[in-house]
């Protein structure tokens, strides 16, 4: 969903706007400054009777791999609203959000991902972005077919805090972005 370099309008060039300390793309015709900031992905580990909702992706990237309901937060939404919308879109699922599981910074792709634990309130079915959905027990999770690292991180955070409330959200599991807990 990011514009490729070849599609940036020719009137744009990199410059440091007045009062700033880094280059931005600026339109030389109208002065438009194209601020690009990290985007928020919001998602959920939705559970019911100890089983976890997973969706097999119908779209790239990682088509055919299993993921948690998650996607880009849209304007006008709270982070929790966005998580509920994604679960509705991807698995026709209705949720009661319980607590925050993790906040993961992924600077390489300009994302901050926020995952919640939620109680699943209905029977999920695949939405247009999913080939199928499943309610997996811990042992049934297709660990080798998960779409993204943060899916595993969030599942691990869920497992480590099952039944608990009042804990600090997990950060990236290793490396420079590991949050103090």
């Amino acid at each position: 969903m990011q514009v490729s370099a070849a599609r940036i309008p020719t009137s744009f060039s990199n410059e440091v706007p007045q009062g700033e300390d880094r280059e931005r793309l600026v339109c030389q015709t109208c002065g438009f400054i194209d601020y690009v900031n990290p985007r928020i992905v919001t998602g959920v580990v939705a559970h019911c009777d100890g089983r976890i909702l997973l969706c097999k992706r119908a779209i790239d990237p990682r088509k055919g791999f299993w993921t948690l309901p998650a996607g880009f937060l849209e304007l006008g939404e709270s982070v929790e609203d966005g998580a509920r919308r994604e679960a509705r879109e991807e698995a026709c699922a209705e949720l009661e959000i319980e607590t925050m599981l993790g906040v993961y910074s992924i600077p390489r792709i300009g994302q901050v991902q926020i995952f919640y634990r939620a109680r699943l309130l209905n029977d999920p079915t695949p939405g247009p972005e999913s080939l199928e959905v499943m309610l997996a027990s811990w042992d049934e999770i297709p660990w080798k077919e998960l779409a993204f690292p943060s899916v595993k991180w969030s599942l691990d955070a869920y497992r480590a805090t099952e039944g608990q409330t009042g804990f600090a959200p997990f950060g990236n599991p290793d490396g420079a972005d590991h949050m103090t807990r």
Copy 2:
């Protein structure tokens, strides 16, 4: 920092891109889709000997009012890195981040604000975006001259959890965006 309607290039118009469910600004010449998503503000309640670092804003909005070091997360940063950078820019402050205090959704202005508690490691001095800095005891905080609601929310979250770790971050204190804790 947002483009005003008058400055949107005339080749852009609102349409629903294929496979999506909402209007985006699309350039009719080159097909560029201008995805606009909420932005992340990252900030800190930095403390030293029970005093809290506040900065008097040198720039609009809310010039002359007191704030916590905070600002927009930039590409290539973790949320914690961004908080450290903002403290450095606004108060020449070096920090050790301790824990997450709050995650606030402010859909009206397209922001998600993430605040940490941090230990202040040096003597702060005003950076170019601050008129002055202060280290305030709780009773010295200029409550009627705070720049933004989330400054108060974060200070309250700090006070409610002073000396604690392992707690869930606070959400918006009231209204529809209040997070389950």
